[in-house]
C-alpha cells in the first residue's frame, strides 16, 4: 500500500515545488481539496453530455493543478481525457474517467493528512 501511496502523490517533489514553505504547502493543499471535487464533477458532466469542448477545458484545468500537487496519476488521466476531448473521440472517456475518479479518491485522503 505504501508503494501505491507514493505513486499517487510525490511528497518530496511537492516540497521542492513549494520551496519548503509550510504555510504555502497548507494553503495549496486546502485549495486543491476544495477545488478538485468540482473539477471532477465538470469532467463527469462533460462526458455524460458528450461535450468535447467542456471536457478539454475541465480536464486541462485539473491536469494543471494536479501537476502542481505532484500527483502524477491524476495528472496523467486528466491529460488523457484532455487529449480525447481535443480529438473529439470520447468513446474511451468513461473508462479513463473511472480510473481518474479512483485515483482522486486515493489522492485526497493523502493530501488531507498533510493539513490534519
Amino acid at each position: 500500500m505504501a508503494g501505491d501511496a507514493q505513486a499517487i502523490f510525490d511528497l518530496a517533489a511537492f516540497d521542492r515545488q513549494t520551496g519548503g514553505d509550510v504555510s504555502l504547502r497548507s494553503e495549496i493543499v486546502q485549495m486543491f481539496l476544495e477545488d478538485c471535487p468540482g473539477r471532477v464533477a465538470e469532467i463527469r458532466a462533460a462526458i455524460a453530455d458528450g461535450d468535447a469542448t467542456k471536457l478539454v477545458a475541465a480536464a486541462h484545468a485539473l491536469k494543471g493543478s494536479a501537476a502542481y500537487m505532484s500527483a502524477p496519476v491524476v495528472r496523467g488521466h486528466a491529460g488523457e481525457l484532455e487529449r480525447m476531448g481535443r480529438d473529439g473521440q470520447l468513446g474511451g472517456a468513461p473508462a479513463v474517467f473511472a480510473a481518474l475518479d479512483a485515483a482522486v479518491a486515493e489522492l485526497l485522503p493523502e493530501l488531507q493528512k498533510l493539513i490534519d
Partner: protein, 209 residues
Amino acid sequence: MKVLVADDDRIAATMLSKTLRQWEFDVTVVSDGAEALRYLQTQGSKTPTLAILDWMMPKLEGADVCRRVRLEMPLANMYLMLLTSLETKGHIVAGLDAGADDYLIKPFDPEELRARINVGVRVLSLQERLTERVTELQDALANVKQLHGLLPICSYCKRIRGDDSYWTQVESYIAERSDAQFSHGICPPCATVLEKEIEEHRQNKHGGR
C-alpha cells in the same frame, strides 16, 4: 522589478506568485487574459515589466495577449513568458511566434524558473540602458542639428545672417545654438599684424610733429 502573473487556476497563480514574492519581486496577479492586457497597457512603454502568462485563460488567451502587446506596443520594454501545460511542439512554436520571449511547461521547476527569469531581467535591463542611451543621443543630436545647413556669412566682418534676417556676430550665433562658450584673446598672426599697425600709427604720430 514588476512581475505580472496571469492564470485563471488559483493553485497555479498562488504557487507562482508566492514563489516570486519569496524572490522579492513586485507581483501583481490577474485571472484572465483581458485583465492581463489591460495591466500591461497601463505600464506604458518605459516601465520594464516581466509577465508570466497561462495560455488557456478566459476572455483572452495568453498567446493572444503576447500578439496584442507586440502589435500595439512594439517599443514596450516587456519580457513575456508563457507558462502552460500545453506541451506539444506546435504550441511552443505558436507561442513564440505570437511574441512570447520564453515558453515553460507546467509545473514550473523552481530552479529553472529562477534561471529563466534572470535571463528576462537581463534582457529588460539591457533594453532599459539602451533606451536611456538613445535618449541621450537624441538630445545631443538636437543640439548639433541647429548648427547644420548653409549659413550666409559676411566675408568681410564674418557676421552670420540668422533665420530672423538679422546679422549677428559669429560667436553669439554659435553660443546660442550649442553648448560652446567663447573666451576672447588675440592669436599670434593677428598679434603680429596689430603690433605692426600700432607701430605705424606711433611713427605717423611722431612724423606729424
